[in-house]
């Protein structure tokens, strides 16, 4: 149990730095802003307390806000995801519930479940983020395009990260 959290801590810092120092500086297009740090909130164990998840989201978001001058936008979006995650997990729950020693990774839960889970998380998070960034009704087309393309980019990176950082739980 404690081992799992030490590993989580190291990954947390790694994801924060990968996002803040590398990915933030690869601007492919105005529509594509991948946010892979969301993986740190997505991969919390199933039974994680919402308050703990929100605490973790707060630190992650704050770290990114000071690295990318977004003044609270990342914090707001990741808090939202941390708060809404138990509801997503409930909707996607398999018939016989979640096993306690497993993680929401592609290895433990299978491709179909992971695809649904990742896309719901990413689209909700990205929509919140870009909606508050743009915050104008006349730019709603821009918002939709940004959400679609950025979610796709984030998904591809998070899918690759599944194989780089995680392996099946015993």
């Amino acid at each position: 149990m404690s081992n799992q959290w030490i590993q989580y801590g190291i990954y947390f810092v790694a994801f924060l730095l990968i996002q803040g120092l590398i990915i933030n500086n690869i601007a492919l297009s105005i529509y594509v802003y991948p946010m892979v740090y969301v993986i740190a909130i997505m991969m919390l164990p199933f039974e994680t307390n919402v308050l703990l998840a929100m605490g973790i989201a707060l630190i992650m978001g704050f770290g990114l806000d000071i690295l990318s001058d977004t003044f609270g936008l990342h914090t707001s979006a990741s808090l939202f995801l941390a708060y809404i995650r138990p509801f997503i997990l409930k909707v996607l729950q398999p018939r016989d519930g979640y096993e306690n020693n497993k993680l929401p990774t592609v290895h433990d839960m299978g491709y179909t479940w992971f695809l649904a889970y990742a896309f719901v998380c990413l689209i909700l998070h990205h929509t919140w983020f870009f909606a508050f960034e743009i915050f104008r009704f006349d730019l709603i087309g821009l918002l939709v395009l940004k959400v679609i393309f950025s979610s796709l980019a984030s998904f591809i990176l998070i899918f690759i990260f599944q194989f780089l950082f995680y392996k099946p739980s015993k």
């Binding site: 977004t70 003044f71 609270g72 508050f132």
Partner: protein, 273 residues
């Protein structure tokens, strides 16, 4: 009873969530104010340490390109020195120059962090109040203007770039005044607003700074007109410009210190408010 506790537990989480959101979004919307940065920004010690470390690694990547830019700039400046002029009248260069008084000083700095894909884009530079950087100073590169300083710490400063909503820098095209704007989509294309449709503006005209609010000297290039058309029934021209600065690669910049700015502000303060 059990259901009541369950309900309260869920309600507690929601309350905490709402309080945190209101605080965080409050910070964010506050930062949208013109000329203002929230205290959560990259000039603080921890994040600037990381950004500086990254810069130390990546700065060698485009050294060659930067050298060419600096060499070109040096050549241009050398051409303006008195020694590169042939003196037609010998005594012209011997008298003390009392015609010109220096108005602008330049502080060289390097961009260590920037974005160009958001609706409001900022850059962090590695010079701060110790080097004499102050709020509201303009920032340029050899090609044109970048933006102005909105917040300063000891060793770092934050610039609001031209790629921002409501940047409102006064510019001029063919001696006609307008204000600069950005469409939020393309980091190469800007807009000039407020020029009446009777004005003679053609594609290829260069847009310069007006120097009216003291951030920038007069006549620094901003962009080149790429499209100028009259929209149906509008009293003003819709002008698109190509920025002269390449916002996808910011390197060495100059911060402009206007020595006369205090004097100008003090004088204007009496009448404009």
């Amino acid at each position: 009873m059990r259901n009541l506790f369950k309900f309260l537990k869920r309600f507690r989480n929601f309350l905490i969530f709402m309080v945190l959101q209101i605080f965080v979004l409050g910070l964010f919307f506050n930062s949208k104010n013109y000329h203002k940065a929230s205290f959560v920004n990259s000039t603080n010690a921890i994040s600037s340490w990381f950004l500086q470390k990254r810069y130390n690694i990546t700065r060698h990547f485009d050294l060659e390109k930067n050298n060419v830019i600096l060499a070109n700039e040096n050549a241009e400046l050398l051409g303006k020195l008195p020694m590169s002029y042939y003196a037609l009248q010998q005594q012209l260069f011997q008298i003390n120059d009392s015609v010109y008084e220096q108005q602008y000083q330049f502080i060289a700095a390097t961009v260590i962090n920037f974005s160009n894909h958001k609706l409001n884009n900022f850059a962090t530079i590695n010079k701060g109040s110790l080097a004499g950087v102050e709020k509201d100073m303009g920032v340029i590169v050899s090609d044109g203007i970048i933006g102005f300083v909105i917040d300063v710490s000891k060793h770092y400063a934050i610039i609001r770039t031209l790629l921002s909503e409501r940047i409102n820098i006064i510019v001029e095209v063919n001696d006609i005044m307008g204000s600069l704007d950005w469409n939020g989509r393309d980091n190469k294309v800007g807009k000039v607003k407020g020029i009446t449709s009777s004005a003679q503006i053609v594609v290829g005209d260069t847009v310069y700074t007006k120097g009216s609010n003291g951030h920038f000297p007069i006549g620094i290039p901003v962009g080149v007109v790429s499209e100028a058309k009259i929209e149906n029934g509008a009293a003003t021209l819709s002008i698109n410009i190509d920025f002269t600065v390449n916002f996808s690669a910011l390197g060495h910049v100059y911060i402009i210190k206007n020595i006369f700015k205090m004097e100008k502000d003090k004088l204007e303060h009496k009448y404009y408010e």
